[in-house]
């Protein structure tokens, strides 16, 4: 993202693996943070710290200056679970079975791949866009 500046946008679809302890909770936490306008801040913090148990998530909410009472209430009541489940259904419809899975202008890239793999596709897509006059 940093390399390409405003040439690239990133969208997230939740696909928490159902047998991991905290995957679904973390996805809901990101949506609870999003409800307070801090999705990406929470996204970055969770990826940096890696601890995703309930107490850690609540601590992150405090660090980010969120309304912690509201965040905790929404997490405990699973308020954002339907939103997350919509994404899971979408992933199933598309027959996605591994995370992360990326689509770069519709071109699929599966798994943790080196930056060069992304770079190759992004550069091709940018060249195409340039040729098309965008």
């Amino acid at each position: 993202m940093e390399t390409y500046g405003d040439k690239v946008r990133l969208a997230i679809i939740h696909f928490p693996y159902r047998y991991r302890d905290y995957a679904a909770l973390a996805a809901q936490a990101s949506e609870a943070a999003r409800a307070q306008g801090k999705f990406w801040e929470m996204h970055d913090l969770m990826l940096e710290r890696r601890k995703l148990d309930r107490e850690s998530l609540i601590a992150y909410a405090g660090e980010l200056g969120l309304d912690v009472a509201r965040f905790t209430r929404e997490l405990d009541s699973e308020k954002h679970l339907p939103r997350v489940n919509q994404d899971v259904e979408l992933a199933r419809r598309l027959d996605i079975y591994q995370t992360p899975t990326f689509f770069i202008n519709g071109r699929k890239l599966v798994g943790e791949r080196p930056f060069e793999a992304f770079q190759a596709i992004i550069d091709e897509e940018l060249a195409k866009a340039q040729a098309a006059g965008n």
């Binding site: 040439k7 946008r9 990133l10 969208a11 679809i13 928490p16 995957a23 999003r34 996605i96 965008n134």
Partner: protein, 48 residues
């Protein structure tokens, strides 16, 4: 009937395009970066 034939061809092309394209709705997704960016990366992710 050339008109009818071209219509059928058009329908076939549209159908093929729809079948090939990965249509992932982003209206509900958190998005970072400008809406008119030439490249869109969609990540199906698991935080854990």
């Amino acid at each position: 009937m050339p008109v009818k034939k071209s219509f059928l061809t058009l329908m076939l092309v549209l159908w093929a395009a729809a079948a090939l394209a990965v249509d992932i709705p982003l209206d509900r997704a958190p998005v970072r970066g400008p809406a008119d960016a030439p490249v869109t990366i969609i990540e199906f992710m698991d935080f854990q």
